[in-house]
């Protein structure tokens, strides 16, 4: 007999909530790693289908790390990382009282940043982007990656440092 519980992942509502809370982050996580949108989407699908199949065995508390592990293991050593292409939000364009020189410098800077990001080691890029784009705290990233908070701080520090060095052309 299955445990008839509101906390059970087999319950459609509980499952949907877990999906809504985590799917976007998993998608981004895989994207920051491999730079492939299609593969990231597939990883989300795969991870949550597996979770559903094992819904009776996985407790809701473990569900998050379960789906991350599945998604993470899916492409382990299988696909080659591609260039991560990130967009810049249009909000800067609304304040167009900047001089053309400034705008040109800004777009030049963005191109440099893009290039620098792609040259970061995977784990530094993931940590940096999860923090900057997804607003994840160091503690959360540490839990996802299964490492200490200190290790994440180190990655963040190194990421920023090498980004600056790349941009400043040192």
């Amino acid at each position: 007999m299955k445990i008839k519980n509101e906390d059970n992942i087999c319950n459609d509502k509980v499952f949907s909530e877990i999906f809504k809370a985590n799917s976007k982050t998993i998608y981004n996580y895989i994207y920051y790693k491999f730079g492939n949108e299609e593969k990231s989407y597939d990883a989300v699908q795969e991870a949550f289908v597996k979770l559903w199949e094992n819904c009776a065995k996985v407790s809701p508390a473990k569900a998050k790390s379960y789906v991350y592990t599945v998604a993470n293991n899916l492409y382990l050593n299988v696909i080659k990382a591609e260039k991560v292409r990130l967009k810049y939000a249009d909000k800067t364009l609304k304040t167009t009282h900047e001089t053309p020189e400034f705008l040109m410098e800004e777009s030049e800077f963005k191109a440099k940043l893009d290039h620098a990001l792609n040259n970061l080691p995977d784990n530094q890029r993931i940590t940096f982007l999860l923090n900057r784009i997804d607003g994840k705290k160091y503690k959360e990233i540490a839990a996802l990656e299964g490492v200490s908070v200190k290790a994440i701080e180190k990655r963040m520090h190194l990421a920023l440092k090498s980004l600056r060095e790349k941009i400043d052309g040192i």
């Binding site: 989407y41 699908q45 289908v49 199949e53 810049y88 909000k91 940096f128 982007l129 941009i167």
Partner: protein
Amino acid sequence: MQENYLAKWLNNELSEAELEEFKNSDTYATYQQIIDASNALESPSFNTEEALAAVKNVHLFNDTKVVQLNPFKKFLSVAAAVAILLTGTYFYVNSLDEQISTQYAEKKEIVLPDNSEVVLNADSRLIYSNKNWNANRNISLEGEAFFKVAKGKRFTVATEAGEVAVLGTQFNVEDRKGFFEVTCFEGLVSVSFNGKETKLPAGSSFVAIDGQIVTDEKQNSIIPSWINAESTFKSIPLKFVLNEFQRQHNIIVETKNIDTNLLYTGSFSNTDANLALQSISTPSRIKFTLEGNKVLFYAEN
């Protein structure tokens, strides 16, 4: 400056003094620029609702798959059970003796595994084993049958009264209550009766009535008359004749004031009951009345 100060700076964990020192450094401007620019970064769009619907579709599909698989497994186990049962039954039935019997007024022709032929007269039973038939030709018989035996190993017909053994020939065996008759039509038949063996050449009969050997008569026909739907008797007590009539016509015979030990010689039809009744009653000078399924024989005064 403490370890990983850049990470601490982003988390606002630097002390006043440290922050002052950092802001005064040459690199601060670029760091600030990186953070400003990265704050405007966006990841590729991801539609959560659509992705969730897709995952749910996969469950539905997977769920039905599971339902489809189960009956097939059940079907497999049932099929296996049936197959085992059938195989078992096949071997069991195969090892059973073959049994053939006839009712009143019925005749059957049987071909044995070695192409020997048997014609079974009314109210008779025949048992033989299909297994090892060619090495061991044994038949047990109750009633009357005509055998056309193919050449080969010893062919034995066992009855309650006696045993008949041959190599290849045509003969008739009749074993009724108190009446045992073997007639040989071709070849040589050996009859064991009460521990005594009698060799029966073609054209002769062996008859025993109530345990007594009665005659050793010459026979002219080449097959028993009952094969041609006629029952023939030669100096046989009337009671056996009447019993045979009852078997052939499925009519119950009753007698009144007649000596059924009187000998009867003659034949009657196995198809026409009225003709048969006359064939029996006229030579014996007795009368009969036929009522439905019963016939009463009574003495002529």
